[in-house]
C-alpha cells in the first residue's frame, strides 16, 4: 500500500480545501433550496480532472493510486467541512469497499477503474425499513431463475441511490447473504427519494421487482462484506464529522470575536469562552482518535474494528454537540434558514443516527472488544 508523508497529507488537504472552499457558498445555498439535486455531477467530474482523488484508496491494479484510510480520511474531512454534494461516501467508501472486499476480480475490473476516474457513481443498498445494519431483519432476496439471478424487495436509506449508475445490493439467497450488482437502469428497479433531515445528502428508497442482478464475490459471503464496509464507513463518517465540526468551531469562534454586546465582544465573557473551549476539547480528542484509527487501518489492521467503532461513536457525538452549540453561540441568527448553521446541525444528527444511533454504536464497540 502506498503511503503519503505528513507533508504530502498537508498538501493533499490544502488542494482539496482549495478546490471545495471556492464552491462552498454555492453548495450551501443550493442545499437550502428544497428540491436541488443532492449530487453536483459537474463538480464530481471536475474534482476528478483537477485533483484525481476518487481513486486515492483504490488499488493500483484497478486504476487507483493505492493509498489507504489515512489519505482517504483527509479528503473526507474536507468534504465534511464544506458539506460538499459529492458522492464520495457512497461511491468511494461504500461501493468501492464492498467491491474490494468481495475479491471478485471481474467485478473490480469492471467498476473500480470507472469509479477511480470519476465516471461512475455507485452505492450500496444494504439496510431496509428500520435502517438498522442487522441483516437478519432484511427481507430482500435473490432467486435464480434459469441462469439469471432476480432480486425482489425494497431497500431504504440508500445513499445517493437516486443518481447512482451502479447499485450494489445485499440480498438473501439460499446460500446466505450475498452481494449483487444491479445497473442503475435495470428493468424492475425503481427509485424514490426519502425526504430527510440532511439537506445536503440524498437517501433513496430502492424497489426491486424481479430485477436482474449479477453475483459479486462468492455466494453466501455477504456478512464479511458488510463488516468490511461498516469499518470503512465508520471511519468515513467520522472523518466527515471531524471536518464539519472543525468548521462549526471556526464559525463559533469567529462570531464570538465580532459580535459585540454590553460594549465588548461576546467572546470575552467566560460563559462564551468556556463553551468554545468545551467544543475545542471534544473536537481535539475526537480528531486524535480518528487519526489513529485511520492509521490502524493501514498499519495495525487487527486494531481497526475496535478503533473504527470507537472513533465513529466519539466523532459523531462530538459533531452533534459542536453543531448544536454553534447555533446557540450565534443566537437568533443561528436559528434562521439563511444561516448555514442548521445545515451542519442536520448533517450532524443524521451522521449520529445513520448506523443505528449511539444505543447500537456503543454496543458495537463492546462486541468488537468481545465483551
Amino acid at each position: 500500500m502506498n503511503v503519503c508523508s505528513e507533508q504530502e497529507l498537508d498538501d493533499l488537504r490544502m488542494s482539496v480545501r482549495g478546490f471545495l472552499s471556492v464552491r462552498q457558498g454555492e453548495f450551501l445555498e443550493r442545499a437550502k433550496t428544497w428540491d436541488a439535486p443532492k449530487i453536483d455531477l459537474p463538480c464530481w467530474q471536475r474534482i476528478s480532472t483537477e485533483l484525481d482523488v476518487q481513486g486515492l484508496a483504490i488499488p493500483e491494479e484497478y486504476g487507483g493510486h493505492g493509498y489507504g484510510l489515512p489519505e482517504l480520511r483527509i479528503v473526507l474531512e474536507e468534504c465534511g467541512r464544506s458539506l460538499a454534494p459529492l458522492p464520495f461516501l457512497s461511491t468511494v467508501v461504500m461501493a468501492a469497499t464492498a467491491l474490494i472486499a468481495s475479491s471478485d476480480d471481474e467485478a473490480c475490473d469492471r467498476y473500480l477503474p470507472e469509479i477511480a476516474s470519476g465516471r461512475l457513481i455507485a452505492t450500496l443498498a444494504a439496510v431496509e425499513k428500520s435502517g438498522r445494519w442487522t441483516p437478519a431483519e432484511w427481507e430482500t432476496r435473490a432467486d435464480k431463475c434459469d441462469d439469471q439471478w432476480l432480486i425482489t424487495g425494497t431497500k431504504y436509506f440508500v445513499l445517493d441511490g437516486a443518481g447512482a449508475d451502479l447499485c450494489l445490493v445485499l440480498a438473501h439467497t439460499p446460500a446466505g447473504l450475498t452481494l449483487f450488482e444491479v445497473e442503475g437502469r435495470a428493468p424492475g428497479l425503481q427509485c424514490g427519494d426519502m425526504s430527510g433531515l440532511d439537506l445536503t445528502r440524498g437517501y433513496a428508497r430502492v424497489y426491486f421487482a424481479n430485477t436482474p442482478a449479477r453475483v459479486v464475490g462468492p455466494l453466501g459471503e455477504g456478512m464479511a462484506i458488510v463488516e468490511n464496509v461498516l469499518e470503512n464507513l465508520r471511519i468515513g463518517l467520522a472523518a466527515e464529522a471531524v471536518g464539519a465540526a472543525e468548521r462549526c468551531l471556526e464559525m463559533s469562534v469567529d462570531y464570538a470575536k465580532i459580535r459585540f454586546q454590553f460594549g465588548r465582544a461576546i467572546g470575552s465573557f467566560q460563559a462564551v469562552k468556556h463553551l468554545c473551549a468545551d467544543m475545542f476539547v471534544q473536537f481535539e480528542g475526537a480528531r486524535a482518535l480518528l487519526a489513529e484509527a485511520a492509521l490502524a487501518g493501514r498499519d495495525q489492521p487487527e486494531k481497526l474494528p475496535v478503533l473504527a467503532a470507537a472513533s465513529f461513536v466519539e466523532c459523531s457525538r462530538m459533531f452533534f454537540f459542536v453543531a448544536r452549540e454553534n447555533i446557540h453561540l450565534h443566537g437568533g441568527i443561528g436559528f434562521t434558514w439563511e444561516h448555514d448553521a442548521h445545515l451542519y446541525f442536520r448533517r450532524a444528527k443524521t451522521t449520529e443516527l445513520v448506523l443505528g444511533g449511539p444505543v447500537v454504536d456503543y454496543e458495537a464497540v463492546l462486541t468488537k472488544l468481545g465483551v
Partner: protein
C-alpha cells in the same frame, strides 16, 4: 518496528531482566486478589526514609545509570536524546515487569521541575540538579499555590527580600504534594510588590531542610494526607538558587504549569488505569451480574471510548512535544478530558454498584471503588482548575479576547 527501535527494545529487556522480575500470573494484578482499593491518591502518608521510598530512589538510579532514566533528554545532562517513540516503547516493556512505582516522584520532580530547570536554569543549576533528580538522589516539590493565590497564582504574596547576600523568604504555601518527602522545592516569591503582579515574581530552588521551613500535613477528603501547608519564616535562600532573572519568575512558572497540565492529562500510571481498562470493567460487570444489562453496558462502553480517545490525544501530544520543549496550551485539552473521564467513570461505576458503594459488605471489588469517587473532585482542581484551563484554551488557542478589560484584579493591578 524499525531496526533502531528493535535494538533499543533489546537493550531495555536486557536492563529489565537483570534488574527486575517479570510480571507473572502470581504478581500480576488479578481481579479478586489482593487489594481492591481503586484510588488516585495514597491513603498512607509516606516518610522520606521509608524502605519503599528507598526502593523507588534506587530504581530511578538503576534506570539512569543504565542510560534509560531520561530517554528523551539532552545528552549533556545524562539524557539519551532519543524520540518519544523510544520512551513509549520503554514504558510498554517496563509494564511487563514488577518495578517500584515511581509515578508520584516522576510527576513533580521529573515531569515539572527538571524541564523547568532545563529551560530557565543556569548551566551550573542544570548540572547541580537535573542529574540528581533523574537519579533519584533528589526529590522535588512545587511551592506555588497560597491561601490567597490559587487560580490567580500571579497574586502570590510570599515575600523574598534580598539582603545583599541571600534572599529572605517569609510566607505560606499550600496544596504542596510530597513536600514532606522532598529535598528541594521550586518556589515562587514576590520580589517587587510595586509593579504589576506578573512582573514582580522570582523563582527559586530552595532546600527543603533550610531552617525556617515548616511542613505541615493537610488531610484530604479521601482521608489521606499526601499534600501539605509549607510555612516560611526568615528562610535564607542564596542568590545562586535563583531560577531565572529577578522579577522574571512568571515565565518560569508558566513552563512548570504547562508541563504539569500535559503530564496530568497524560498520567497513565495512576492506580486508576489498572482498574479502568476494559478487562477490569468486564470483570466488574460479571461480578455484579450486569453483563447483559444494556444500561450498564452503555456505561462501560462510554468509559472505554473516552479513555481510548484520551489515549490517542496523548499519543499525539507526545509525538509533538519533545523533551526540553514546553508543551503548548493545547495540552490543557488532555487534562480537561482526563478529569472529566475519571470523574464520570467513578460516577458510572457508582451507579453499577448501588448500595455496595456506600458501605463495605466485604465483597471483593465493590466498596473499594468508593476511594476513587472520593478522589475525583481533586482532578478538576489540581494543576489548574477546569475554568482556568478553559480560559487558557479560549484565549491562547482560539484567540478569544481577554476578559480583563474593565475588570480589576484582587491585588489592585489591572
Amino acid at each position: 518496528m524499525t531496526t533502531e527501535l528493535e535494538a533499543f527494545a533489546d537493550e531495555v529487556r536486557e536492563f529489565l531482566d537483570s534488574n527486575a522480575k517479570r510480571r507473572t500470573a502470581e504478581n500480576r494484578k488479578v481481579w479478586g486478589q489482593g487489594s481492591d482499593q481503586v484510588t488516585i491518591f495514597r491513603r498512607e502518608r509516606e516518610s522520606r526514609r521509608s524502605p519503599e521510598m528507598r526502593a523507588r530512589r534506587e530504581w530511578l538510579r538503576a534506570r539512569f545509570d543504565s542510560g534509560l532514566g531520561w530517554i528523551c533528554g539532552p545528552i549533556e545532562h545524562g539524557g539519551r536524546d532519543l524520540s518519544s517513540a523510544h520512551e513509549i516503547l520503554y514504558e510498554t516493556i517496563e509494564s511487563e515487569y514488577d518495578v517500584p512505582d515511581t509515578s508520584h516522584l516522576r510527576m513533580v520532580g521529573l515531569n515539572l521541575v527538571a524541564p523547568t530547570i532545563l529551560a530557565h536554569g543556569t548551566l551550573r543549576q542544570c548540572t547541580q540538579f537535573i542529574r540528581p533528580l533523574f537519579r533519584g538522589e533528589l526529590i522535588a516539590c512545587q511551592l506555588f499555590s497560597e491561601p490567597g493565590a490559587g487560580s490567580d497564582l500571579a497574586g502570590l504574596q510570599t515575600r523574598a527580600r534580598f539582603d545583599g547576600t541571600d534572599w529572605i523568604v517569609n510566607g505560606q504555601k499550600v496544596w504542596t504534594s510530597i513536600a514532606h518527602c522532598s529535598d528541594i522545592g521550586e518556589l515562587l516569591c514576590r520580589t517587587d510588590p510595586a509593579v504589576a503582579k506578573h512582573n514582580g515574581i522570582t523563582a527559586f530552588l530552595v532546600d527543603m531542610d533550610t531552617p525556617g521551613i515548616d511542613v505541615r500535613p493537610l488531610r484530604q477528603m479521601n482521608g489521606g494526607a499526601e499534600f501539605n501547608e509549607v510555612y516560611f519564616t526568615d528562610v535564607r535562600v542564596p542568590d545562586s538558587r535563583r531560577l531565572g532573572p529577578v522579577n522574571g519568575g512568571w515565565p518560569v512558572a508558566l513552563t512548570t504549569l504547562m508541563n504539569e497540565r500535559s503530564s496530568v492529562g497524560a498520567e497513565d500510571s495512576l492506580a486508576v488505569n489498572g482498574a479502568l481498562n476494559i478487562e477490569w470493567l468486564t470483570q466488574l460487570l460479571d461480578s455484579l451480574e450486569l453483563r447483559a444489562n444494556p444500561a450498564a453496558r452503555r456505561r462501560i462502553a462510554e468509559i472505554y471510548v473516552r479513555r481510548t480517545t484520551l489515549d490517542q490525544l496523548n499519543a499525539q501530544l507526545r509525538r509533538t512535544v519533545r523533551s526540553g520543549r514546553t508543551p503548548g496550551p493545547e495540552a490543557s485539552a488532555g487534562k480537561l478530558l482526563n478529569s472529566r473521564n475519571v470523574t464520570e467513570a467513578a460516577e458510572s461505576i457508582s451507579e453499577l454498584l448501588g448500595p455496595q458503594m456506600i458501605a463495605d459488605n466485604g465483597a471483593w471489588g465493590t466498596y473499594g471503588w468508593s476511594e476513587l469517587l472520593l478522589c475525583t473532585p481533586a482532578l478538576r482542581l489540581l494543576g489548574g482548575t477546569d475554568e482556568i484551563l478553559k480560559n487558557i484554551i479560549a484565549e491562547r488557542v482560539l484567540g478569544l479576547p481577554k476578559e480583563s478589560s474593565g475588570g480589576v484584579a484582587r491585588d489592585g493591578s489591572r
